[in-house]
């Protein structure tokens, strides 16, 4: 048992929380209390209590023992709405079947870091969630001790039933909830030993599962309120362009259309938050009664766009410096490629240097050099961007899908001038996030539109609006070089990485620390295309590139690719080079060893091509082995074996689901997806031409294994995503005899690769 002070975020544990039962919640209804029991089949219905008692900001207990736990963080499919309340319930010592989960609204008085990003919800919430549960438990025990006239030390709890040692007296949580809500918050509480966990480490079903499979309203797009109008925006067709004029009046008379106007979401003098990334500030807006009517009006709206002189000039100068004269300044994918290949590395900066890599490269008997690239990507959350806003004279109510409610609140404060306490932000379940909904311009747009209309509105992006709106994963480019001596020993390693508009380099990650002479360089090239974090930012490219290069290097050195990595990790563990290495070599090696064993590495069957990869990011370690074959020009993924070290696994089956999803997502994006540009215009605007992975292309089987080490949990939303791209590239090589350097790999596969016979 460990003691923790409850002082951190103390206001969290103070009672009388005002938000409970707030009118805007998407509808806490009886279905919330119906869910499958643990075999997933039978349905269990909880009786609601007559009265609730707030024990602290995280939970309330009913007079009949039913517990409501508020899940603080936004749910984007990473399962925190189930796993975070599980952690509270564990320390509360309550029967999980008695728990009802509700999404908490933004409330910075109670919760810290209500953000979905960086795979940090569980890691950073671990202690506060446990403390919240343990504090409530302690208050219930104190109340029970008072009632029984006994010592707290003589009380034990099992599943919400308090028993007195030495007598057979028992009290249920529901019976002492009222008294507990009056108890002073303890200064210090005890947390459980890991060995005593009863809920953490057991698989619990998604708390929204039943609602999802029966089509109940859950998502932002499902919000319909009385008197609500639908709003859609019309944005410039190309990056580098801006609004000039439009035929608003003709469109206003169309059926169902209420108004047509422009907004300036982010006026120049507004102080922006980091999350206010938006390619286009001035937008045309159509407001009407129904979505279809607004969509028709959008089509009829004739907007004239013009070049934004500053933006195109900036690109013309940049392109000229690379020897391209007379360009339009609107961006093209082929110009991007030229810029990255020709000028990028010329301007690189050294980020880390160990030993004397330059000298070793000069002495080398062999140098292996390879370059890898990837395109821009759109996030393509299946639920397009949207938000509900009801801005009145004195209050801004906002409801919808947002990964960064706390920052969005600041943006609304700055844009509309409302005090923070007059801004109410509530989160719906989200139809995907992947980083896209970190950037809440759509929330601000909704607020501005609602204010202008003086009415509640729901802003809806069409798929086309969503896909062409920017905030893309940047395009990246990296060159690796390795110096080998006459005995085929690796003597120096050089990585030079860049992109538009940022570099994917992590200078202190493996193989830094494992090579005596190491050089890491970085560069970037400006763009008018807006970019943002995309599931495992930067890692989502550099992992695959690095792991492909190491594979090729191992082959050149005549080594088994797993053993090669393990040898390097041993070196990093026993005698690390440099001091800033930001990974734990032993944990890294642990997942590689596990995946080697679980996949029967080395005993592969002849018609299956295998590739391996391992990576560390967002505090977790993942190793993957991918088995595939190529049928004509069609890749067929038979199986992926994953070994994961994320410390304690809170909800094992859901964690497996997350690893499976990350694996499929990584294969999909590396193999099929890309966003290209012509004269600044995104060349794909819907799923007919933008390829996402589909059912037949997914692995036939995915096996997931977790390292059990009892270490405090780290995240899982991102770590399984980057490394699989390397395993895929390495397996493709085994299947075709050809190395794949440029994502999406399907392009090279289709352009006539001969399958190795």
């Amino acid at each position: 048992m460990s003691k923790v002070k409850t002082g951190i975020g103390r206001r969290s544990f103070i009672k009388s929380v005002s938000f409970a039962g707030g009118g805007l919640l998407i509808g806490f209804n009886w279905l919330a209390c119906k869910r499958p029991n643990e075999d997933g089949v039978e349905e269990m219905v909880l009786e609601m209590p007559e009265e609730w008692f707030e024990i602290n900001g995280y939970l309330k207990i009913g007079d009949n023992g039913v517990v409501t736990i508020y899940s603080p963080n936004p749910e984007i499919g990473q399962n925190v709405k189930t796993s975070m309340p599980m952690i509270v319930a564990e320390e509360l010592d309550v029967d999980w079947d008695m728990v009802v989960v509700e999404q908490a609204p933004l409330n910075t008085d109670i919760f810290t870091r209500q953000l979905a990003g960086g795979s940090q919800s569980i890691r950073q919430g671990w202690e506060s969630l446990r403390t919240a549960g343990a504090t409530a438990r302690q208050m219930l025990l104190i109340a029970a001790a008072n009632q029984l006239e006994a010592d707290v030390a003589d009380l034990t709890v099992d599943k919400g039933v308090i028993s007195h040692k030495g007598s057979d007296r028992k009290l249920e949580y529901g019976e002492v909830a009222k008294a507990a809500s009056q108890v002073a918050v303890p200064e210090e509480v005890e947390l459980k030993d890991n060995n005593d966990f009863k809920i953490i480490g057991t698989s619990r079903k998604n708390v929204d599962g039943k609602k999802i499979v029966t089509g109940q309203p859950l998502y932002g797009l499902d919000v319909y309120k009385d008197g609500m109008l639908i709003a859609m925006v019309v944005q410039p067709p190309a990056f580098g362009m801006q609004f000039k004029s439009m035929n608003a009046d003709e469109v206003k008379s169309m059926p169902g259309i209420v108004d047509v106007f422009t907004i300036d979401t982010y006026p120049e003098d507004m102080e922006k938050e980091w999350s206010d990334t938006a390619a286009f500030s001035k937008l045309a807006v159509v407001v009407g009664e129904t979505t279809w009517q607004v969509m028709q009006a959008k089509k009829a709206l004739n907007v004239e766009w013009e070049l934004n002189p500053d933006l195109v000039k900036k690109m013309q100068i940049l392109e000229k410096s690379a020897g391209m004269d007379g360009t339009s300044g609107l961006e093209n994918t082929n110009i991007h490629a030229t810029l990255m290949a020709e000028t990028g590395a010329r301007n690189s900066e050294v980020v880390r240097r160990d030993g004397d890599p330059e000298a070793e490269f000069k002495k080398a008997s062999r140098i292996i050099e390879r370059t890898y690239t990837c395109p821009f990507l759109a996030h393509n959350c299946l639920e397009p961007m949207n938000f509900f806003a009801n801005v009145t004279e004195d209050k801004a109510e906002l409801l919808g899908p947002i990964q960064t409610p706390e920052y969005a609140e600041k943006s609304v404060n700055k844009r509309l001038g409302f005090e923070l306490e007059d801004i109410d932000i509530q989160m719906t379940r989200m139809g995907g996030g992947f980083g896209r909904r970190l950037y809440g311009h759509f929330l601000v747009e909704a607020a501005v539109i609602s204010q202008k209309m003086g009415k509640p509105i729901k802003l809806v992006y069409s798929r086309e609006d969503d896909m062409t709106n920017g905030v893309y994963r940047p395009a990246y480019h990296v060159t690796y070089r390795a110096a080998l001596d006459e005995n085929n020993n690796l003597t120096a390693f050089h990585v030079n990485a860049g992109g538009i508009p940022e570099s994917p380099l992590f200078a202190n990650r493996f193989p830094a620390g494992a090579v005596d002479n190491y050089l890491a360089e970085s560069w970037s090239i400006d763009t008018n295309i807006s970019v943002g974090a995309f599931r495992a930012p930067r890692s989502n490219f550099i992992a695959g590139a690095e792991q492909s290069f190491l594979d090729e290097l191992a082959e050149e050195m005549g080594k088994d690719p797993i053993q090669f990595r393990l040898d390097m990790l041993k070196r990093a563990e026993n005698d690390p080079v440099g001091e800033k290495n930001d990974y734990d070599p032993a944990r890294y090696a642990g997942v590689l060893e596990m995946v080697r064993e679980k996949s029967n590495w080395g005993k592969e069957t002849s018609n299956v091509a295998r590739g391996v990869s391992a990576y560390y990011c967002h505090n977790s370690y993942v190793a993957q082995i991918l088995d595939m074959s190529v049928n004509g020009d069609q890749p067929v993924i038979h199986k992926v074996t994953c070994a994961v070290d994320c410390g304690i696994v809170v909800n094992p089956d859901a964690a497996k689901n997350m690893v499976e999803g990350g694996t499929v997502d990584g294969i999909g994006h590396a193999m099929y997806s890309q966003m290209t540009f012509k004269e600044g215009e995104p060349q794909h605007n819907n799923f007919d031409s933008y390829r996402l992975i589909r059912h037949p292309e997914a692995p036939k089987e995915i096996d997931v294994y977790f390292i059990e080490n009892g270490i405090d949990p780290t995240g899982l939303g991102e770590p399984p995503f980057p490394p699989i791209m390397g395993a895929l590239a390495n397996a493709l090589y085994k299947a075709t005899g050809k190395r794949f350097y440029n994502q999406p790999f399907i392009n090279e596969l289709k352009s006539g690769v001969k399958v190795k016979g």
Binding site: G40, V213, T214, P217, T291, W292, V664, N686, R694, I702
Partner: protein, 154 residues
């Protein structure tokens, strides 16, 4: 605008809408049935799948004028208590991540099992080709369909 009679989940309804309005938006904007999702609007993602006289169709492509006077079943009407074997299998395998695509996946899967009660892996993959899951729950979807097929046979 025109009036249309349409039977949704066994209930006759009258809707006043432009004849070209896709059933998807009639369901969502007019009838408050939001289980049917918008993902692409061009029949590429499957999020809007409903049953049209028992066949899985993309409601984003089905004008109300065509849907009228036919039998439509949406995710809300698939079973009375949410206990259709496919829904149960979905819960048993805890398929959803974000969950947004799942109504469409379930509607396509139930139509498949009606036609082909014991589909092979390949038949499942092909039947489900038009339903994108951005979160990548494909392996669980397949497993759930097989479980549902088994339970329906027994």
């Amino acid at each position: 605008m025109a009036e249309f009679n349409i039977t949704i989940n066994g209930k006759e309804q009258t809707v006043d809408a432009d004849p070209q309005t896709p059933l998807l938006w009639v369901l969502r904007d007019h009838l408050n049935l939001v289980g049917t999702k918008y993902g692409c609007g061009i029949a590429q993602c499957g999020a809007c799948t409903v049953h049209f006289n028992g066949t899985a169709v993309r409601s984003c492509q089905l004008p109300i004028s065509t849907a009228a006077n036919n039998e439509i079943v949406t995710i809300e009407g698939l079973s009375e208590k949410g206990d259709h074997p496919v829904q149960k299998a979905w819960l048993e395998h805890d398929v959803p991540q974000c969950g947004y695509c799942q109504a469409g996946q379930i509607m396509t899967a139930t139509a498949l099992l009606k036609k082909n009660p014991n589909p092979s892996d390949k038949e499942i993959e092909n039947a489900m080709y038009g339903n994108i899951c951005r979160c990548g729950t494909y392996t669980r979807i397949k497993a759930a369909i097989k479980t549902a097929a088994k339970s329906e046979q027994s």
